[in-house]
Amino acid sequence: MNIKLLSAAVGLACISATAHAEIRINGFASIVAGQTLDDNTSLYGYDDDISYKNESMFALQLSSDLQDGLSATAQIVARGNEDFDAEFEWAYVSYQINDDLKVSGGKMRIPFYRYSDFLDVGYAYRWVRPPQSVYSFAFSTYEGLNLLHNTTLGDWDSSVQVIYGSFEDTVPSGAGAMPEDIKLNDLMGVNWTVSYDWFSARAAYLVAETSINASSVTGLTAALNGYGLSNQANNLLINKDDGSFFGLGISVDYDSFLFDAEYTEIEVTDSLLPDQTQYYASIGYRLDEWTLHLTYESNDDEHDSNRLNTVPVSITGPNNTVVPVSLDPTNANSPLLKDLTNQVYLGAKQESSTVTVGARYDFHPSAAFKIDLSRFNDDVTDQDIDVLAVAIDLVF
């Protein structure tokens, strides 16, 4: 994959060289140090030992204007939590059809959120990291096409983006969990941003046929299938299920006052993934080179209660015998599959809120210093986790 992209980039470089186009190099970097403040806690990839690597990253972007509206761009990102292995995060070719319309093809960011496109460019926002309750997706790029339409309506600017493509990768599914294969097919989405001087609003909707190998339930689904309960098994598996994402956001940058809020809903029907609702609201105040901010986030994942108790306690076997639906029907004490299935659905419940206070200091024209203190509260276990992080974000 990497080698293929690399050769593609080399190819692009050759094309540009023959066309005598210049290659523009831009870059950005974040050096972040952070840790949790209590023993045996972990959050955002940190534990109670200070890490300089977890959220640090370095990126270079090569872009070349091939004239007549054609351009090629590649962004190479090295992340500390991947041992600074450099990877192509973006690699695409764009064609500017006219002043308003641009089409791009290649590997690009999935535009879920307001900050999705520049998620890695810490210099572009005030936090050390965007609110994680909302910005929760581990995967973030897709391969495909996107069409961008920018226009002006009086004093308002409008930007509509339509995407189509697919995604396939193996990503960590959470702290300590086994990596899972994720596959999104027929990924389609549209988002619309309108802005007026100090105000902007955005809406996004995406759908995809979603498959994730849910290794934690393979035993249970095999047992369900053994009883012929394939519907119930399929309702656990994440196999070609309809996934949808809906997001709304607003942003205000008026004089010294900043306000941002986003609301998101994620659903993968008939799977073990719960319906997810997230939001954050954040205020900021600019004081010369300083920006002070306060953010509240909330995450709520839950299955509808009608999904419980769909597995029968027993089935009727040959000669009208009643067979218990359990892991081991010969053992009367064996757990019922109904209870195990309910546990999966109930166990998916997550409820949390996070409060972050922080400051950004623009100490240099190309660099900002940031400090954020976040308190995450798990409402299910009633556990608090505090994370303190300081960062230097640069663009060059």
Binding site: R24, N26, F28, A59, Q61, S63, D65, S71, T73, Q75, W90, Y92, S94, D99, S104, M108, R109, D117, F118, D120, V121, Y123, A124, Y125, L148, N150, T152, D157, E289, D362, P365, S366, A368, V395
Partner: protein, 134 residues
């Protein structure tokens, strides 16, 4: 200490005396007000009223650049940089080329019929046309 004070005074005077002139090629007859100039430097307006493709240049970290972004675009240097970093790293735009000096901007605008730039208003020459002072 005395030296420091005089350096500071120098800075202050250099800072306050810089009136910014926005310049175009003498053959450019498009009317451009502050709002349009701001949109050009934010990458939102890409063509002149007569249909010509705009070629905007800026200045690299000079006092004039700071004055221009503050007075015309209404953003601090770091806000302006943050704004453009969002567009650069998402392939949505390329900022006006930052040139090294007033003279470099004059040379560019004088030789590009569709060029636009800004300079210290004291440095204006006949090779360019001033469309506004801020």
């Amino acid at each position: 200490m005395k030296k420091l004070v005089s350096i500071c005074l120098l800075c202050v005077s250099a800072y306050t005396s810089a009136e910014v002139a926005v310049i175009v090629n003498p053959n450019n007859n498009n009317a451009l007000d502050k709002g349009v100039i701001s949109k050009i430097y934010l990458g939102k307006t890409k063509s002149y009223a007569d249909g010509g493709k705009i070629k905007a240049v800026g200045q690299k970290g000079t006092a004039v650049a700071k004055e221009f972004t503050q007075n015309v675009v209404g953003k601090s240097s770091s806000q302006f940089k943050a704004y453009w970093s969002k567009l650069i790293f998402t392939g949505k735009g390329t900022p006006p080329d930052p040139l090294a000096s007033d003279q470099a901007v004059i040379d560019f605008v004088a030789s590009n019929p569709q060029g636009i730039g800004y300079i210290d208003s004291a440095k204006v020459t006949d090779a360019v046309k001033v469309i506004g002072k801020f």
